[in-house]
Amino acid sequence: MEELKKEPLNLIIAGVGGQGNVLMSFLIGSALIRSGYLVTIFDNYGASQRLGAVASYIKIATKDIDTSPLLHEGDADVIVGIEPIELLRNLTRFGNPEVITVVNTRPVYPIGVISGEEEYPDLNKAMQTIRNLSAQSWILNATEEAMKLGNTIYTNVILMGALLGSGALPLSKTVMEEVLKEELPKAFDINKVALERGLELVRNPTNN
């Protein structure tokens, strides 16, 4: 178990209902527990089965400390966005000058945007804003990479690979692979490839 730069170390995973936030937070939480940390995970998914805003808060500690499942304003250390605007929504609330972000560039349009009542922000400008509000930012089109592997379902494991590569969490690739093998045994081979792909994208960024 590594020492953490802060206790609790706070990770947010932000996305849209149906993108797999809850499974992703569970997999990362399991990997952290396997590495010896104490974790608390709250999945905030509201009422709708699909397409509502979802955020998972993962709080990590090396010892038993006084902590709650929630974050307060400005107290995120790492934010992963499965959807860019959901990342920005959480970044503007929980961000601070030291925060690290990992973001998937593929938008999912809210219903108000589709009906024309609201505007979806210009994606390039949104990415610039995310960079400005982060100490370090890893930007990748994980959905497109997942489609190359045959299914958008691999998006989150690619993002998990990128998160590993960012070094923002005290996690090793070995532990992550062990968890994927245990929790998703049937899809392990392809998920292993997806994890590696995410790591590569961070090692050799194309658009960052």
């Binding site: 699909r50 400390i65 929630l70 505007e119």
Partner: protein
């Protein structure tokens, strides 16, 4: 995900609060569990049901909370420990039975788990269930962590037996849906044997001895009940779930319970107030452990209460303080009454930090607000964020049903409207349901209020009324309303939007699906057979056949003078997709046919129909399918007046 049934004492697992409650029940050796789905409580039964056969307990999704709780009570009376779980609204449904059960007492341990939804994030209302415990003299426990969810549920069974009455465990969304480390204890050897010890003496009936007593004199039972509950505080006095942490004589004392006590503990660290503030954490909130509280009140002349929804502990402690002898110190109380704590909605860490800082007279800077530049850039960025409101899922049959209802109402032209009900169909209130739902109250409330609207013709009221409910809601509480309408000739159409699932809470089975909680087949109850047995005129349509659905509904609205039933049946897309893992159609927009803004339809497809899988390409000025979101249901092809949306069977 986590296995709650493993017998691995001493190991630590990552469990949801709700899973930990289920584990606590197993460690207490329950034999019987019942529930009705309702966020945020559903995972308790969701965890127990699939393993019930394997571990030898009986677990049931019941038709509604009332039957669930009644069945669990029967198991308790027959000497089997039983658990019943539900959301806050469910306790309203069981209230009548609960009042009477308190008159008789129970057999073996009976625990009612209720999961409140502060803020009403996934509910029709916001309500605090704790005052019900006080009203009915039920011992009440409030866990604050996943570990306590397990430990206190286990303890609740012991308490229930020691006191001879049902015991209530209250969770909230932020606890039920939080995963935390839970240390397992041993699972008991289950040797449950049921026996109902009524002795009916056939020769001498007056000498018969009944488990529940005869209730010809309820006031006598009240006396017994008060005696029983008076024994609870002494058990709470020494409970490890009540604690004090802080200096001996702090500047002020914070009293909190449940999940709020974790916010308080973290907030004190954030504000660096460890030397100035003392924290009283209460796990047993009714009846109060009066000795413990009185001792804590003497530590400081300032007391702040942090809790969500009702000022429940606040009022109870103030009552206690008022009953203390006049020579005892009278602290100044801060909380909802004084305006230092928000009196509505859920609490969160920010609000608690603000409340404590205001009482402590300090200002607080977060990592965000301590940099002015960062904060102003961040606030600026927040302004460009579009909201992400609720919607029907891509492929949802309710989108089709409400589209049909809206069109039928327009064609009818008499300003008809929908009386809505609980569940996914409630989204008929907002854009994906074309804003058709005008009333929305409780389970079964849609058909209930339709009974009234349907009898206003003598007062010159001629708007057609369409009650809408889902299939699970039909079974839960809509049948009596329908029977009343049939009997009294109320003029309404009940549209049952049958998607063959309790979808909003996570696809639990119900009588219409024919499956039982354990995953085994039960006896399927046919919705149309139930309705037809009442002599109601019943029509069945697939809402994806839009024309047929509109025409049929229109005809029913015009056939006045009786209650009618239209079943709009199409399987929930999420359930279908889980089974087949395949889309039905490949969808695309033929851009030669879509004439964009030139078309007189005024973007009917995206502006009005508003499915998340069909979006407007601004650059092209035409509609386009979002492949990553589209479920391939094919419905939008029938909506486009130009026939530009193409569906190709897969």
């Amino acid at each position: 995900m986590a296995s709650i049934e493993i017998d691995a004492p001493g190991t630590t697992q990552l469990l949801l609060g709700n899973e930990a409650i289920a584990r606590g029940a197993l460690e207490a050796g329950i034999g019987f569990a019942t529930a009705y789905p309702g966020t945020p409580s559903s995972e308790i039964m969701g965890t127990l049901a699939p393993i019930s056969k394997k571990i030898g307990i009986y677990a049931e999704w019941s038709i509604n909370e009332m039957v669930a709780f009644e069945a669990a009570s029967a198991a308790s009376l027959a000497n089997i420990r039983a658990l019943s779980s539900m959301k806050a609204n469910g306790v309203n449904v069981i209230a009548d039975f609960l009042v009477n059960l308190q008159m008789t007492g129970i057999g073996k341990g009976l625990v009612l788990v209720v999961c409140d939804d502060p803020g009403g994030m996934t509910s029709s209302n916001e309500q605090d269930t704790r005052p019900i415990a006080k009203w009915l003299n039920i011992p009440l426990l409030e866990p604050s962590t996943a570990q306590e969810c397990k430990d206190m549920t286990k303890w609740a069974f012991e308490l229930s037996e020691e006191l001879g009455m049902v015991c209530m465990v209250r969770s909230v969304t932020y606890l039920s849906h939080t995963r935390g480390n839970v240390r397992f204890e041993k699972l008991p050897e289950i040797s449950n044997k049921a026996s109902f010890n009524d002795i009916y003496d056939i020769d001498n009936p007056r000498q018969s001895r009944f488990t529940c007593g005869m209730q010809f004199h309820p006031y006598k039972q009240s006396e017994v009940l008060l005696k029983k509950i008076s024994k609870a505080p002494e058990k709470f006095e020494s409970s490890p779930f009540n604690s004090y942490k802080g200096p001996d004589t702090p500047e002020f004392l914070i009293i909190s319970s449940g999940i709020c006590s974790t916010y308080v503990a973290e907030a004190i660290g954030v504000l660096n107030l460890q030397d100035r503030v003392g924290i009283v954490k209460l796990g047993t909130t009714w009846p109060l452990p009066e000795g413990f509280i009185t001792k804590q009140l003497e530590r400081s002349s300032n007391v702040l209460f942090i809790e969500e929804i009702a000022p429940f502990v606040e009022q109870s402690v103030m009552e206690l303080a008022a009953s203390l002898p006049p020579d005892r110190p009278r602290p100044t109380f801060y909380g909802k009454r004084s305006g230092h704590v928000r009196a509505w909605g859920e609490q969160d860490l920010n609000l608690v930090i603000q409340s404590i800082a205001s009482v402590a007279g300090i200002s607080y800077q977060s990592r965000k607000t301590s940099s002015t530049d960062y904060q102003s850039n961040s606030d600026e960025a927040a302004k460009i964020l579009p909201a992400r409101p609720l919607t029907f899922c891509p492929g949802c049959p309710h989108r089709a049903s409400f589209w049909a209802i809206k069109n039928a109402i327009q064609l009818d032209g008499r300003n008809g409207f929908v009386t809505g009900d609980i569940g996914c169909t409630a989204m008929g209130m907002i854009s994906p349901g074309s804003f058709q739902v005008r009333t929305y109250y409780a389970m079964g409330g849609g058909v209930g209020v339709a009974n009234g609207f349907g009898h206003l013709d003598q007062f010159d009221f001629h708007q057609p009324v369409i009650a809408v409910c889902g299939d699970a809601t039909f079974f839960h509480a809509s049948i009596p309303g329908l029977i009343n309408g049939v009997w009294n000739k109320s003029n309404f159409t009940l549209a049952i939007l049958d998607n063959s699932a309790t979808a909003m809470t996570g696809f639990q089975p119900h009588p219409g699906t024919g499956m039982m909680a354990s995953g085994e087949p039960g006896n399927k109850v046919n919705i149309e057979a139930v309705c037809r047995s009442l002599g109601v005129h019943v029509e069945i349509c697939d809402p994806f056949d839009l024309n047929a659905a509109v025409t049929t509904l229109l005809a029913m609205m015009r056939n006045e003078g009786n209650a009618k039933v239209l079943i709009l049946r199409h399987e929930c897309e999420l359930v279908r997709a889980r089974k087949t893992k395949q889309k039905l159609f490949k969808m695309y927009v033929d851009h030669d046919k879509c004439i964009g803004e030139e078309c007189g339809c005024n973007r009917l497809c995206t502006r009005v129909f508003s499915c998340p899988g069909l979006v407007w390409d601004k650059e092209a000025g035409k509609a386009v399918i979002d492949e990553a979101v589209c479920a391939g249901c094919g419905l939008c092809a029938d909506v486009c007046p130009q026939g530009a949306i193409v569906k190709e069977a897969l």
